[in-house]
Amino acid sequence: MKRSCGKLLPASLVVGVLASFAMSPYADAAGRGGGGGGGARATSGGGARAQSGGGAQPGSGGAARQTAQVNNTKADARTNNVRSSSVNNVNNVNVDRNVNVNVEGHGCCGGGWDNDYHPVATAAAVGTAMAVTSAVVGSMVRTVPPSCVPVNYGGMIYQQCGSTWYQPQGSQFVVVNPPY
């Protein structure tokens, strides 16, 4: 299958930003992310790609993703207001969805393997929790507090900082409702 243009995006920058952030949490990671991180990405990303690609699509990944990166800061807030009542997208025929009916957040997050984001606009009940840190759901930040703990839930990466949850988005983080 030929690779389409949109697939190779993430992000030397993100890695650079996160890497430097991890080493020195107090620094303004976004400010110093750029060059060094990109270099690291070029070697590790390219190598991993070639390995996993098994030679079938040699090196097709790294290069394209170096130059472009998804930026959703201009996206309308309505794009996040996904119907919570439906399993929006069904990708497999033989998935027994019934087993997941009682899962919290069902239909909102995770689910399809193509689902890469967590809706942020459906948040009503979290107002009080948010007040603690005054982080408004849907707002973007360049860095997260040093106390945050990364966690994988539903196949997606979050940064949990007490009652506030962030999800990486491009080189930034968006405040989301707690996934559970």
Binding site: S44, Y117, G154
Partner: protein
């Protein structure tokens, strides 16, 4: 008088008309009822499933176009791609790309790792079983879906054909350069279509699933590409944390 009777009978027919549709179907239904599930279409699924189960070592790639339904019913379309290197019964490496995420899933028969490349975070879980069981574990315990998981389920009891309430042959079609037989099915709240390569190697080339449970009817389209003689090495099934990667917890889904 004659005219009056005629008018009355016409009126009677008109009045009876609302009932007519209820009476007409019986005339047509015997045929429809017996052929709602076309046996040859089910057989094509069985043949494809049996063939898929014979594949021991392969690379399969997919490009998916899916839809998200917004609160008001408007739909947004998105694209994701995945490449999977597979060796049955219990080794797999999947690379999944979408606009906002790039993930790798690696399984060597003993440990499954989910790795987020951009963030350089990975999580591992011990699990010793087949790829089929791995699909269940990921879906039910972690709500992580494997791309094209149907490929590992068709041809097994986990893909029961008796749930299909309608099956039909929709003729032939091309998917890329490949001549395919096109079939359409209905089961539970989904309609689905599959394009299976015509001939002795019945590989699925395209899968379309329409979710009828939502009135907006979101749909996914997966194009499928095959390499039955891949040249990957066995070492790709072993996850070695890249330099700078750190291990994080993966939390099982919470139930209410």
């Amino acid at each position: 008088m004659v005219r009056k009777v005629l008018a009355l009978s016409l009126l009677a027919m008109l009045l009876a008309a609302p009932n007519a549709p209820a009476q007409i179907p019986p005339a047509g239904t015997p045929q429809a009822a017996t052929s709602a599930v076309d046996p040859a279409s089910l057989q094509a699924l069985k043949d494809m499933g049996a063939f898929l189960q014979t594949l021991k070592r392969f690379r399969v790639s997919t490009e998916l176009t899916g839809e998200r339904v917004l609160a008001d019913g408007q739909k947004l379309q998105h694209t994701a791609t995945a490449d999977m290197d597979v060796e049955r019964p219990n080794r797999l490496r999947a690379l999944m790309h979408s606009a906002r995420s790039e993930r790798e899933l690696v399984y060597d028969g003993k440990t499954v790792t989910l790795y987020a490349r951009a963030q350089k975070y990975y999580s591992t879980v011990e699990f010793v079983d087949t790829i089929g069981r791995l699909i269940d574990l990921l879906e039910q315990r972690y709500r992580v879906e494997l791309p094209l998981s149907d490929l590992f389920v068709w041809g097994t009891p986990a893909a029961p054909l008796d749930k299909i309430v309608s099956a039909m042959n929709a003729g032939q079609d091309f998917v890329g350069d490949h001549l395919c037989d096109h079939y359409a099915f209905r089961q539970a709240s989904i309609d689905w279509q599959i394009w299976i390569t015509t001939g002795s190697k019945p590989l699925p080339r395209k899968l379309v699933i329409t979710n009828r449970a939502d009135e907006a009817r979101p749909q996914s389209v997966s194009l499928i590409d095959w390499n039955l003689k891949p040249n990957f090495k066995d070492t790709i099934f072993k996850f070695t944390p890249p330099k700078g990667a750190s291990k994080i917890e993966i939390v099982p889904v919470k139930t209410k």
